[in-house]
Structures are given as C-alpha cells and as structure tokens.
C-alpha cells in the first residue's frame, strides 16, 4: 500500500472529511441532476470570468478610437494585439519570454526546495526552528526589489543575481506555509503513528510529509505568483534579458503597443502556468478539505 493511501485511510477514519456533495444529496437520482446543475454553474462562472476582461479590452479599444483618451501611451487595443503578433513572429519576444520562464522556474525551484527543506529541519529541530522562524519573520517583510541594488554589488548583473532574488522571494511563503502544514497535522495521527512504532524515517515519509502537503501546496501556489512578479521586476532593474528588459526597452523606444503586448503575454503566461500546479495539487491532495467544494 503506497504511503498516501494509508494516510487517506487514517484521515478518513480519524476526521470527518467526507465529501460535501455526498452529504448534500443523499438520494442518488437527485445527485445526478445536482451534477448537471453544477456543470451549468461552472460553465456560467467561466463565461462570466471571461466576459469581464473582454469587456474591459473592448472599453480600452473604444476609449482609444473614440478619443476619450488621447495619448501616445494609450494605443488602441487592436494595435496592441497586432504588435504582439508581429513581435512573436519576429522572434525577439518569444526569446524574452523563454528567458523569463527560465528565471521564474529556476528561481522558483531553488526557493521552493530550500523553503520546504528548511521547514522540515525546523520541525525536526525545534530550537533551530525558532531561531530560523525569527529570522524569516524579519526578512520576509523586506520588499525584494529593495534588495536588488546591494545584490548587484555582490553578485553582478547576470542570471546568478536574478536567480537569487527570485529564489529568496519564493523561499519565505513556502517555508512559512510548509511549517503551518506540519504544525497542523492532527496530534492524534502522530500518536497513532508512534503507537504503531514508526521509525523516524517512516514518520517523516508517512506522517509529516503527506500531512504537510496542503501547506506545501499553498506555499508553492503563493510562491509561484511571487516568482513571476519578482523575476520581471529584477529584469526591469538590471540586465539585458527577459520580458522585464523588453518592457523597458520598448517603453524608452516610444513603442507602447509592443510594451502592452508583452504585458498581455505575461498575463497569459501567468494564468496558464498556474494550471499545472492546480492540477498537481488536486490530484496529489485530493483528500484534503480545501480541495472539496
């Protein structure tokens, strides 16, 4: 039996984590129509979710064409779309996007691994943990972009520096949420594990790690959003690569349509990139109450 299923069994036995849908619809025939209703609600929600941004883009287009806003910095939305398409074909923008993705993924992976690792170290060694916790509480309030200038002095303006900035900004939310995940594991579960004579390695693998997963995923989700923001910010401040640099270059070349096009691309990337994480979360910790609505 794989460890995760064991936990599910324990969890289901120890805690009333029964799916909400089953409680609401005790009669099978009613449940079916309920599912249909749910599908319709979901569809309506997606449609509404798309309608609002589309309406805003439409408003943008009208405000520029009708002359409500005349400024060199307010191109028509259709021009932004054209610029985006042309720049994607020209090849500079896809390269910039790949550079940014590399920075986000690389920095995120380093920061998340360190955050999770440190959280488990703190959980296992409480004395070290309280020291580390204080340090993290102090450091996490510093706006990361403020750290860029001193980091430039220490690590230069290259990829290394930007990876450190991104990793540092991911580390804190992942660390704190993982810690919360570990702390919120049912004490009864730990007792049961101890009664069954679980060794320290098995305890970590079968109790601590799976128990902390909801916290880890919460931290990772927050961390990924931050990674994207911080990566682009770092690129805006230093260096000559990525979407951040492209944004500033186009701004100072008086090409706002290209600039907004790149912002649109970031928007698309940001929303698509969170999908694999969400999917992973819902398939790994399907048993957790936060996944069941």
């Amino acid at each position: 039996m794989p460890p995760s299923t064991k936990i599910v069994a324990l969890n289901a036995a120890g805690l009333p984590h029964t799916p909400a849908a089953q409680q609401d619809d005790p009669i099978p025939s009613k449940r079916e129509s309920g599912e249909n209703r749910q599908a319709a609600v979901k569809l309506r929600r997606v449609a509404l979710g798309l309608a609002l941004p589309l309406a805003l883009f439409g408003l943008w287009q009208i405000s520029a064409t009708a002359g409500w806003i005349t400024s060199n910095n307010w191109p028509r939305f259709s021009l932004v779309l054209t610029a985006l398409a042309l720049e994607m074909l020209r090849g500079e923008l896809p390269i910039a996007l790949l550079q940014t993705i590399g920075l986000v993924v690389g920095g995120f992976a380093i920061g998340a691994a360190l955050g999770i690792g440190l959280a488990f170290v703190s959980a296992v060694a409480p004395l070290l943990g309280s020291g580390l916790g204080t340090l993290v509480e102090l450091l996490r309030v510093i706006p990361i972009p403020a750290l860029v200038p001193p980091l430039v002095l220490l690590f230069g303006t290259g990829l290394e520096m930007k990876l450190i900035v991104v990793a540092a900004s991911v580390l804190f939310p992942v660390f704190l949420n993982t810690l919360v995940g570990i702390v919120s594991i049912e004490p009864q579960l730990k007792l049961v594990a101890r009664m069954h004579g679980l060794g320290p390695r098995a305890f970590l693998r079968d109790i601590l790690f799976p128990g902390a997963l909801p916290g880890i995923f919460a931290g990772v989700r927050i961390g990924f959003g931050i990674a994207l923001v911080v990566a682009v910010t770092a690129e805006i401040i230093v260096g000559d690569s990525g979407i951040g640099h492209y944004l500033v270059l186009m701004q100072f070349a008086a090409r706002p349509a290209e600039m907004y096009g790149a912002v649109l691309l970031l928007l698309l990337f940001g929303s698509l990139a969170s999908l694999p994480l969400k999917w992973m979360e819902s398939s790994v910790i399907f048993w957790h109450h936060s996944r069941q609505h």
Partner: protein
C-alpha cells in the same frame, strides 16, 4: 545620484574584493561596459558591430541598463570597467571622492537648436521664459543630471530664479501625459518623446526653449568614464578602448543619417528607423575639451551642486585628450 554614489562608496571595500579580474577569452581581453540603449551610445554599438574592439584585442560585454541610474555605482563598485555617463553625474561622483576618470569623449549639444531635448509647456499658458516658471512645477527625468542642470541654467538665463521652481522627477515617456494632466507646468523632454509629444499634442503643447544649446552652445553632455583603479591595473586596455571607440565615432559621423546608421540605431534602441528621421541627434565627440567640462562644473558650482571645482588634470585621462577619430 548623490545618494547612490555615497552608497556605492560604502560598499566599495567589499566590492573591490569581488571585482572581476580581466578574463582572457580566445586571446581577447574581456571588458565590461555599462551603457544605456539611447542614440548617444551609437559609436560604442558601431565599434562592437564592426569589430573595432576585437581589432585591438578587446571583447566588450555591454550591460545596457535602460534607466541608467545604477551604472555609475556599478562602475565605482568594480562591476564595470567603463561606463557611459552624463557629465553632471560624473562630476557629482568625483565630488563624492570617487576615483572616476574620463577616458574618452561622448556627446555634445549642437551649436544651436534643435537639441536632442527641449523644454515643453502648455500652449494656453504662453510661457516664454524662466520668470514665468517661478512657483511652478517642472518635470525632469532626474533631479541631478545634465537635463536638470541645463534647465535650471535656462530658467536663470531667461530671468527666473531656479530656486523658486519645483522639480518633479518623471520618466521621459510619461512627461507629455503629466503636462496635459497639469501635474507639471513644463517638462524637459528627450527625443524621441519630444517630437512625438509635439506631433500628437501640438494643439495643446509647444516647445518653449532649448536649455541645452541656449545655455551652452556645443556644451558637453556625456563621456565614457573609468576609474583610477582600472587605469592603474590595465592602462593598455584603456588606450585600446579609446582607440576603438574613436573609430566607432568616425563611422557614426559618416553614416548617422544614412540607412546603415539608422538601421544600427534602430537595432539597439528599437526606435523605428522612420521615426529617427524626425529627431535631432547629438554631436558625437572624438576628443574631450577640458574647457567645456570646466564650464559645466562652473554652472554646477553656481547651482551649489559641487563643493569645489574638480581637478580636471586628474579627472580627464590622457586618452580623452587625443582625437581618435582621425
């Protein structure tokens, strides 16, 4: 700027230890140059593109910083061997006891307008001189650079007191919008934003003065700067850099208004070539005239930006006094 240089000074000790040594790669000495992707740095880009640097055994690694604010601190910290810098920022750094040395010429203003930057105001207010700007708000991209110093000098020259004017830092791309929204009453706008603003909003905005050439015809704007530390460690490389850049200046002068020149500028600034035809370009210098630097230092001293006049004989290194473009 002064704040930044002071911070740079503080971290100098740590940074010296971390300063990268010159790396030999494929027989070429690698140098790091801090630059801004604007039309002013065309000779550097030309010298890179046409191999003038590799001809003299140099491989140039440029780090274009669009804002440019971090360039001099990075030079002071040893992250760069050379930096493209406006003369005011350089003099402010020297005033803070940083060991900056002008190693080769950059750009100047033309003898008369149009300049690469101009003072713009709203038509309706009929502003014609500095006196009318007293008590008003003027947008500059940086409170302590060549643009703000020349704007203050223009206000003074046209009968105003620059101390009674409030400077507001606004990036060039946003200046026209800030003017039209009445957040400021005048703005010192650089190209290509100057011609764009007058083109799009010519009914509302107008050029009221040319602070650069009207206060200092053919005045200095920028140079390439290094540090005494770099000169002591690699004097040969500094000489080679100046020589190669001089060839870049010669190419730029010959081709700047030709399709090749416009293609090169468009390539590194991303400004469309057709728009370049409408904008004023700087004068590309091949030799530094100490008197021009002294003139600017005098203006800065009168504006209380400098504690004392800089020692030009140490500030301007020998390579800057040789015309490398001929």
């Amino acid at each position: 700027m002064m704040k930044i240089t002071r911070r740079a000074l503080g971290t100098l000790g740590a940074a010296v230890l971390l300063a990268p040594a010159v790396v030999k790669s494929a027989g070429l000495d690698e140098i790091r140059v801090g630059t801004i992707p604007i039309v002013d740095s065309t000779p550097l880009q030309a010298a890179i593109k046409f191999g003038y640097f590799s001809d003299v055994g140099l491989k140039v690694d440029t780090s274009p910083a669009p804002g440019g604010a971090a360039i001099l601190p990075a030079l002071a910290a040893g992250q760069f061997d050379f930096a493209f810098s406006n003369t005011v920022s350089t003099l402010l750094g020297v005033n803070e006891d940083l060991d900056f040395r002008i190693v080769t010429a950059g750009c100047s203003t033309g003898p008369q307008p149009p300049d690469l930057a101009g003072l713009v105001a709203r038509r309706a207010e009929k502003i014609t001189d500095g006196q009318q700007l007293e008590g008003k708000r003027v947008a500059v991209n940086n409170r302590n650079n060549i643009m703000s110093v020349r704007t203050a000098a223009w206000i003074e020259k046209t009968g105003g007191n620059w101390n009674k004017v409030t400077y507001v830092e606004i990036p060039f791309p946003q200046m026209a919008d800030a003017l039209r929204a009445k957040q400021v009453d005048a703005a010192m706008i650089n190209e290509p934003f100057l011609s764009l603003a007058l083109h799009t909003h010519g009914d509302e905005l107008e050029g009221v003065g040319w602070p650069l050439s009207q206060t200092a015809p053919s005045g200095v704007v920028s140079q390439y700067v290094s540090t005494q530390r770099v000169i002591d460690a690699k004097a040969k490389i500094v000489e080679a850099f100046a020589a190669a850049l001089g060839k870049g200046v010669a190419w730029t002068r010959a081709n700047i208004r030709k399709p090749e020149g416009e293609a090169l500028i468009s390539d590194f600034t991303r400004i469309p070539a057709e728009r370049l035809k409408e904008v004023a370009l700087p004068v590309y210098d091949s030799v530094v005239l100490p008197q021009k630097v002294a003139d600017l230092a005098a203006v800065m001293t009168s504006q209380k930006l400098l504690k004392q006049a800089p020692d030009l004989r140490t500030l301007i290194y020998a390579t800057a006094l040789v015309d490398h473009a001929t």
